[in-house]
């Protein structure tokens, strides 16, 4: 344990050592990118978060590689599958070693910080126009891809967090299954009524499931903030969450978890699936991909019991995250990397990634696809992408994000007031 601990402690310093090693290793063969993609050779290093390293993840990635190979048949592709939690570690160590990735896939919030850090390069300079992107994807997804008026990434799939409820649970609790809660106050009251407990008072069915592990209530807060009419950051990247709407949204999460106890803090089932989808909760956040088949991971007839809805407190919103793809700064193969980014944007890739990583395709014409139509959650999500509210915000977002979740916990668990925490977070975001 001590030796592993020592590694953790000196990891920060070791990354510097890599810089020196890189000086020796980067002087290898300088392969110029061929003008002709058909004869271009080399190895493209791609980092992709949330792709499982099992056969399913490998197959989805191979599908993207196959599309890429139609244009660049002789280029090799070397993937690096990482969880989102380790993405920064991978990128920062590769930058320190002078061996940056050629293609970087990340979340929406990463675009501006990575552009500011010099980890990804301007796609505008590589000939990708904002106008073309606006024509091909939902317009709301274009602004998060830009940094200092240039395009640095393209969206691949959207990862919304939907709200869903069980019709049967509503009927059982004497609530109208045709009328989901509209405001945050109604949501709180319904969740109280829908919570089932045993004789000892232990929850046997959660009233409202936030579908969040401990220290990760960020997206849920953003969703509630948006429903109250607020937003995380203004268009010019200034924090806007520290106001009455933010306080009310955060107070509500605290009330539901620590006062009403209609929701269990940080609780997840062993598969980490949304509790409302499995019938373990009456209302809750859910994935935009639901398998309605009866075999495998499918939930079968439970699909018919689920209804998807948006809160319409002050404003109708749906929280949306998403996966993007970008070209790494300093790549020797910018055109090949761009071709790989486009392969990730291919309709087939979007659908495969959506299934793998609880997402929904982001193309303008995806709504007509069999994939979206066959999946009630995806269909609802796609139709509501125009109500998207995002979490991203400026070049310092990763700095802010690291403190955001744990700080919200302090309110949710009753250690601090929403006002104090939002004020602290506001000062972090303004640094």
């Amino acid at each position: 344990m001590m030796q592993r601990g020592l590694k953790a402690v000196t990891a920060t310093a070791l990354t510097v050592g890599l810089t020196a090693i890189a000086a020796c290793s980067s002087g290898g063969s300088e392969v110029q990118e061929s003008q002709d993609p058909a004869s271009a050779t080399g190895t493209l290093r791609v980092v992709v978060p949330n792709f499982p390293a099992n056969n399913v993840g490998q197959a989805v990635f191979q599908g993207i590689v196959d599309i890429f190979h139609k244009t660049y048949p002789q280029m090799k592709v070397e993937p690096d599958f990482v969880p989102y939690d380790n993405l920064n570690e991978k990128i920062s160590t590769s930058l320190a070693a002078g061996n940056n990735y050629d293609v970087v896939s990340a979340g929406i919030g990463w675009v501006q910080p990575l552009a500011d850090l010099g980890a990804i390069q301007s796609l505008t300079k590589l000939g990708v126009s904002t106008e073309d992107l606006e024509k091909s994807v939902y317009p709301a997804f274009v602004a998060p891809m830009k940094y200092q008026d240039e395009l640095y990434a393209v969206p691949v799939v959207a990862n919304p967090r939907l709200l869903a409820y069980s019709k049967s649970a509503f009927a059982e609790a004497g609530l109208d299954p045709a009328n989901p809660p509209q405001s945050l106050a109604e949501l709180r009251e319904d969740a109280k009524k829908l919570t089932k407990r045993d004789a000892k008072g232990q929850i046997t069915r959660t009233g409202f499931d936030f579908w969040a592990p401990a220290s990760n209530y960020r997206q849920q807060f953003v969703a509630f903030l948006g429903a109250k009419g607020g937003e995380m950051f203004t268009a010019d990247g200034q924090p806007a969450f520290n106001g009455d709407q933010g306080v009310e949204a955060l107070q509500l999460i605290h009330d539901m978890v620590s006062v009403d106890k209609s929701s269990r803090y940080g609780y997840q089932n062993s598969a980490k699936t949304a509790l409302v989808t499995t019938g373990e909760a009456a209302i809750g956040f859910a994935s935009p991909y639901v398998d309605c088949s009866t075999g495998g991971d499918g939930i079968g007839d439970k699909c018919k019991d689920l209804v998807y809805f948006n809160l319409k407190d002050t404003k109708e919103v749906m929280y949306v995250g998403g996966r993007v793809a970008a070209v790494g700064e300093g790549t020797k193969y910018p055109q090949a990397a761009l071709a790989f980014v486009k392969a990730m944007q291919d309709q087939k890739s979007q659908e495969a990634i959506s299934k793998l990583d609880v997402g929904v395709p982001i193309s303008n014409d995806a709504g007509d696809s069999a994939f979206v139509k066959s999946n009630p959650a995806g269909s609802f999500a796609w139709k509501n992408l125009d109500k998207a509210i995002f979490e991203y915000g400026g070049a310092t977002f990763l700095d802010f994000r690291a403190k955001f979740g744990p700080s919200l916990d302090e309110v949710i668990l009753g250690r601090k007031s929403p006002q104090d925490v939002l004020k602290e977070l506001d000062s972090v975001a303004r640094k």
Binding site: T10, D85, A96, Q202, E410, R415
Partner: protein, 313 residues
């Protein structure tokens, strides 16, 4: 001042100089062999400990977000750290973890070592069982404890329910999470300390214990005045390695709580990791690392001082 005669002594003196030379040659050969054997470890220490250590000191004086990309800011990071409440809390939490885990683990491991030094049936099996957590990956250990601490179906709450007590949030309750991880820390470190104490106990001459017993000493007196002083040097070794180990607790927290809930388990190493690889402030994280090294150095120095004082008295 003594005077030395330069005269060669009579008889046998002729052979003395070559013998001295031979001895010198042997000593030099031994020294060369020593350096040769030491060199792999030395090279490793220079490349992976000394060099990164020096670079960490340098980085701590820059505003680098990624290694190799920063500007010199002098003591700016240190000044900022002393006003950083999260860093201060992380230091206090680490000290608390150390103060709680190290003495308890040392006392328990000594007790277990004494018990397993007796002729009891199944002694070898027990020694192996106590040592198993040491050779098991912390990730595996943490995964097992995650199940034990599972609020819904974990063994921990089953035990509480059996005794009619209310369920605990264990790792989701900010008041309980750190103590819950201290228990894991004590349990996991028990085996390594136990083996060291066991070796020390076995090195104490049985004759001394017998002599004390014949002189009328009780078992406690024999332990207090014979065994305890006999294992004193080992206490220092166990103390130093335990302090260093507890300051470096990282993987357990990374796997189980991620520093939460509400920062309740955000110890210094985890804070360093967060600043370096989540916030991408490697200069700031390096400053924290340097401060941590100073802390560990001071604690080890104090331990060494107390041993010297004891030996002196």
């Amino acid at each position: 001042m003594t005077t030395q005669t330069l005269e060669r002594p009579a008889g046998g003196g002729v052979d003395r100089l070559p013998a001295r030379r031979r001895r010198g040659g042997v000593e030099r050969a031994k020294a060369r062999a020593g350096w040769l054997l030491l060199s792999p470890a030395l090279v490793h220490s220079v490349i992976f400990v000394a060099l990164p250590g020096l670079m960490a000191v340098y980085l701590s004086l820059t505003n680098a977000r990624v290694a190799g990309r920063g500007k010199w800011i002098g003591l700016g990071n240190y000044v900022e750290l002393f006003g950083d409440a999260q860093f201060r809390d992380a230091v206090l939490r680490t000290l608390l973890y150390t103060v709680a885990v190290v003495p308890v683990a040392m006392a328990l491991s000594l007790a277990v070592a004494i018990a397993l030094n007796q002729k009891i049936p199944g002694r070898a099996l027990f020694r192996t069982l106590f040592y198993v957590p040491v050779v098991t990956s912390t990730v595996a250990v943490a995964s097992v404890w995650l199940w034990i601490y599972n609020p819904a179906a974990g063994l921990g709450n089953q035990v509480l329910s059996f005794f009619g007590m209310a369920r605990s949030g264990w790792l989701t309750d900010p008041d309980v999470a750190l103590p819950a991880l201290m228990v894991v820390g004590v349990w996991q470190g028990l085996g390594a300390k136990m083996i060291i104490y066991l070796a020390a106990l076995q090195s104490i001459s049985k004759d001394l214990i017998e002599a004390a017993t014949l002189d009328g000493a009780s078992r406690w007196q024999a332990f207090r005045h014979v065994t305890w002083p006999g294992i004193a040097p080992v206490h220092f070794f166990v103390l130093v390695t335990s302090i260093a180990g507890s300051f470096q607790v990282f993987d357990l927290i990374y796997v189980t709580t991620g520093g939460g809930p509400a920062h309740a388990t955000n110890v210094l190493t985890f804070d360093i990791f967060t600043n370096a690889f989540e916030r991408l402030h490697i200069g700031y994280a390096s400053a924290e690392t340097v401060i941590m090294l100073v802390f560990v150095g001071i604690l080890i120095g104090l331990g060494r001082l107390s041993v010297r004082n004891r030996e002196g008295s």
